[in-house]
């Protein structure tokens, strides 16, 4: 059944840092650069490429891994960031992801009010819709997560898996594989999808894609886990708009 959701409780990430507790506004803006063509003979519309962006704003939370420190570091580095909203904030919820460079880092320091901060990923980037398989899940050993019907993708479509290791205790290595099945393993046993695995030795984000056809049900297998006492992860799987 279709349900409305309030934004409160949603998880919003900039790479491996969760910003939700600092933000009071976030949006993903999806656009296509379609062309309306009027010729002497006819009217036509030419589908254009996806040109999406994201914006987020809130309170300038200071300190280690706060909103201010995170945004400043990533903006000054000028590198590509992975922005994601997990709408609702639990496993199974819809996520929207935009990957691109930050274009804004705006500080507001009004007297008599809380300091504010905003950032943006500019229009012109790709966007992916995913389902969250793990949200803030603590992992202490190898094993498999619960499968979800994410939807099959046909050959040529871009299947995306985004792994975020949010925190670690101790030092070690963890290896993830994304597995697929047509019936949640009832008859068709789960098997790893080639090219979608990832290995971490520290916090970070990795985004893996494949254009091979994939089956509807997907789950995460912690194929190897050593050294760490525990880690916390958010992992999502879905499809990128072509």
């Amino acid at each position: 059944m279709a349900v409305k959701k309030i934004a409160f409780g949603s998880k919003i990430y900039l790479d491996e840092v969760e910003l939700a507790c600092a933000l009071n506004q976030a949006s993903v803006d999806m656009k296509r650069d379609n062309k309306r063509v009027v010729t002497i003979g006819c009217l036509d519309t030419i589908p254009g490429p996806v040109m999406s962006g994201a914006k987020f704003s809130g309170y300038s939370e200071w300190g280690a891994l706060g909103f201010e420190e995170t945004l400043e570091a990533k903006y000054r580095a000028g590198s590509t960031v992975n922005f994601m909203m997990v709408i609702g904030g639990t496993a199974g919820d819809v996520c929207f992801e935009v990957v691109g460079p930050l274009s804004e880092d705006v500080h507001s320091w009004p007297a008599g009010d809380l300091l504010a901060l905003s950032g943006a990923v500019p229009d012109g980037n790709t966007v992916a819709r995913q389902l969250a398989l793990h949200v803030g899940t603590s992992i202490t050993a190898t094993g498999t997560g619960t499968g979800q019907n994410v939807g099959a993708t046909v050959s040529g479509a871009i299947c995306v898996v985004t792994y975020r290791v949010l925190s670690v205790v101790g030092s070690g290595t963890v290896t993830f594989a994304t597995e697929e099945s047509s019936d949640n393993g009832a008859v068709d046993t789960y098997a790893a999808i080639s090219g979608l695995g990832a290995t971490f030795t520290a916090v970070g984000v990795q985004r893996k894609t494949t254009t091979s056809a994939t089956k509807a049900w997907k789950r995460i297998n912690r194929a190897a886990f050593s050294g760490f006492t525990s880690i916390v992860v958010t992992i999502s799987v879905g499809m990128q708009a072509a």
Partner: protein
């Protein structure tokens, strides 16, 4: 007899790719690319080719077959899809004209504000060869 219809009445059906869309605001904007010509005979307006945009917005519903799933399917697919809009009143039984056509998504945004439902804005341009939606009375 001519009657006015409240947009919030049950029976207002707006579909995209045959799936009902649930929102708070629906719009259809039609315009003609008319050209004004000023010459020594005066001012003349030459009628140009029409085009239209269909828009909807509101609080977003999630789940299988939901507005969210439908809009993403349309946007990510990158192909024009059929749409319909039929404002009708279940209370009075009035059957109003059905507007329909095919459209291609231009923009789709999703916004999260603290303490508010997740909201959306969607806009698509008509790809019908005449530049106008079809209007059918019944």
């Amino acid at each position: 007899m001519a009657v006015k219809i409240n947009g919030g009445q049950p029976g207002f059906i707006h579909t995209l790719n045959a799936v009902a869309i649930c929102g708070q605001q629906f719009g259809l904007e039609m315009k003609r690319n008319n050209t004004k010509i000023r010459n020594n005979c005066g001012l003349e307006v030459v009628v140009g080719p029409p085009e239209y945009t269909t828009k909807f917005s509101g609080e977003l519903e999630f789940g299988t077959g939901s507005t969210e799933a439908t809009l993403w399917s349309h946007f990510s697919g990158g192909a024009a899809q059929a749409w319909t809009a039929k404002p009708s009143s279940a209370a009075t039984g009035v059957a109003n004209p059905l507007m329909s056509g095919t459209a291609l998504a231009d923009s789709y945004s999703m916004s999260l504000s603290a303490s508010a439902p997740v909201s959306f804005d969607f806009a698509a341009t008509g790809t019908d060869s005449t530049g106008l939606p079809t209007r059918v009375t019944s």
